[in-house]
């Protein structure tokens, strides 16, 4: 009897209409999502992407609610149940919700954006995606790393794209016999001739340490952030070449042994 009542033609029609409604709302959601993604809104891509996704979810939820009303389901009861369910789900999915709120905070704060060069914890790469639950970075080695947003928020984040210029440090060891002033002059000339070593703030060269085998000079200079590695590579090579040209020795580790009592060395030929 119940089955007969349940599967009347009218009810089956309602189910069909409800399913079509969900289907239509699902597609409307997808269309709106793709339109938002394609729009020329002046906002960072991660914000646009997440707004588009949330909009799609909202449209689908509205579709489900409309479908339920077509089936004459009492929505107020469902909403009360959803409230309790939300509480239970909230307790069960604390971690996921934590990631969600971390994601929202990350996007609103704008600490990292798509395309930024970042170091999150010990991982270094380019941000490819900032979602509500996770962040994806392409490591310099080419692998893609997905980090839960709560971990991102709890890590130290170095964003190298925020600054237009970065200070580089290079240590150069010269032998104890070398003229320190001359070495500084040679290094300064190399830095002056390099286009991408900034003139302001001026480069600094200091005697940093009297090491075991060398007098260590520390070279500090500023360069545009995007050129940091290429300039550093060239500077190290050019400093070595310039010091060699000027006869300033870059020593390798060495140890001087003082023998307290003279040692008699016998030749094998005698």
């Amino acid at each position: 009897m119940v089955f007969e009542k349940l599967f009347t033609f009218e009810f089956l029609t309602r189910i069909a209409i409800a399913l079509i409604t969900i289907f239509v709302f699902y597609y409307i959601g997808k269309i709106i999502e793709s339109q938002i993604k394609k729009s020329r809104i002046e906002a960072p891509p991660e914000i646009i992407y997440n707004i588009a996704r949330v909009t799609r979810v909202v449209v689908i939820v509205i579709g489900i609610l409309v479908a339920l009303s077509i089936l004459e389901v009492n929505l107020s009861g469902i909403l009360v149940a959803a409230g309790f369910a939300g509480l239970v789900v909230g307790l069960a999915a604390q971690q996921t919700l934590g990631q969600l709120f971390a994601g929202i905070a990350l996007i609103l704060e704008g600490r990292i954006k798509i395309g930024d060069s970042v170091k999150i914890g010990n991982d270094w790469g380019i941000v490819e995606y900032v979602g509500l639950l996770s962040t994806r970075i392409r490591l310099w080695s080419g692998e893609v790393l997905t980090i839960p947003n709560s971990n991102v928020m709890n890590s130290n984040i170095y964003n190298y794209s925020v600054s237009i210029a970065r200070r580089a440090e290079v240590s150069v060891g010269i032998s104890y016999n070398s003229d320190i002033s001359k070495a500084i002059q040679v290094i300064r000339r190399v830095l002056d001739e390099k286009e991408l070593v900034l003139a302001v703030p001026p480069p600094t060269i200091i005697v940093d340490n009297l090491g075991d085998s060398a007098v260590v000079l520390k070279v500090l200079y500023w360069t545009p952030s995007q050129e940091y590695w290429s300039v550093r590579r060239e500077i190290i090579r050019e400093i070595k070449e310039a010091l060699e040209r000027e006869g300033i020795e870059i020593p390798f580790p060495q140890r001087v042994l003082w023998v307290k009592t003279p040692v008699k060395i016998e030749s094998s030929n005698t």
Binding site: V162, S163, I164, A165, R166, E195, L196, V197, L198, A199, V200, P201, W222, P224, S225, E227
Partner: protein, 229 residues
């Protein structure tokens, strides 16, 4: 001076303070621009419509491997500007070479040494082309003069040791006496941390034997918020 219009039949070679500039026709409507600076060669190929001439113009310092829109000038001697005073000064601006085909610029060649400076903190400042007496010396005669007026709108005496001016949308002139001029610059000093540097669209200097306006801009403004000392 190497500025002017050139018809490229086969090959043109120019000696510039930073090296050599070579323009050579390598095919029908195809031109190669070669630069040799400190025995390092770089080149690019451009397509030109038959009948077009190549125009070499003096342009504000915009060349280099980093795109900039400002010029950081370290003054040879600091200027002490008493409150409410007006001072007239002549700024020296290095000139770059713009290679034009028709109205479009196809290459910018530095005529001397290129260096950059960071004005302001690294996360809020600007990277500008840098100019000091050492840099100017590498440009030989390719230096433009700019009439500069400092107007103090402050009550205190302010020391100015460097200026940052916009380098885009400025105007460059050449005279028959082979002299180059830059648009007028007005420096409004409101406080040590608010100095407005306006480059006008034109020069009001008497330009004896004005030959032509090499590069015309509408003028621009740069606000120095990170100090002038």
């Amino acid at each position: 001076m190497l500025f002017g219009k050139y018809e490229l039949t086969d090959r043109l070679e120019f000696s510039i303070p930073s090296g050599i500039l070579i323009l050579e026709r390598i095919g029908e409507g195809i031109v190669r621009i070669r630069r040799v600076v400190k025995s390092v060669e770089s080149s690019k190929i451009i397509s030109i419509t038959p009948g077009f001439t190549i125009d070499l113009k003096a342009i504000p310092p915009l060349a280099g491997s980093t795109n900039t829109s400002c010029l950081y000038i370290t003054l040879e001697e600091p200027i002490l500007l008493p409150g409410g005073s007006i001072l007239e000064y002549e700024l020296l601006i290095p000139v770059d070479l713009g290679v034009f085909i028709g109205n479009s610029i196809v290459d910018i060649v530095p005529l001397g040494r290129v260096k950059y400076a960071l004005y302001g903190p690294p996360d809020m400042g600007d990277i500008c082309r840098y100019v000091d007496s050492g840099i100017l010396a590498s440009y030989g005669n390719y230096i433009a003069r700019a009439k500069t007026v400092f107007k103090s709108e402050s009550s205190e005496t302010i020391e100015i040791s460097h200026l940052v001016l916009p380098s885009k949308n400025t105007t460059m002139y050449s005279t028959t006496m082979d002299k180059l001029y830059f648009s007028d610059v007005v420096v409004r000093v409101r406080s040590p941390l608010h100095v407005e540097v306006e480059v006008k669209g034109e020069s009001t200097l008497p330009l004896p034997g004005l030959l032509l306006t090499l590069f015309k801009g509408a003028g621009a403004l740069y606000i120095m918020k990170h100090g002038v000392k």
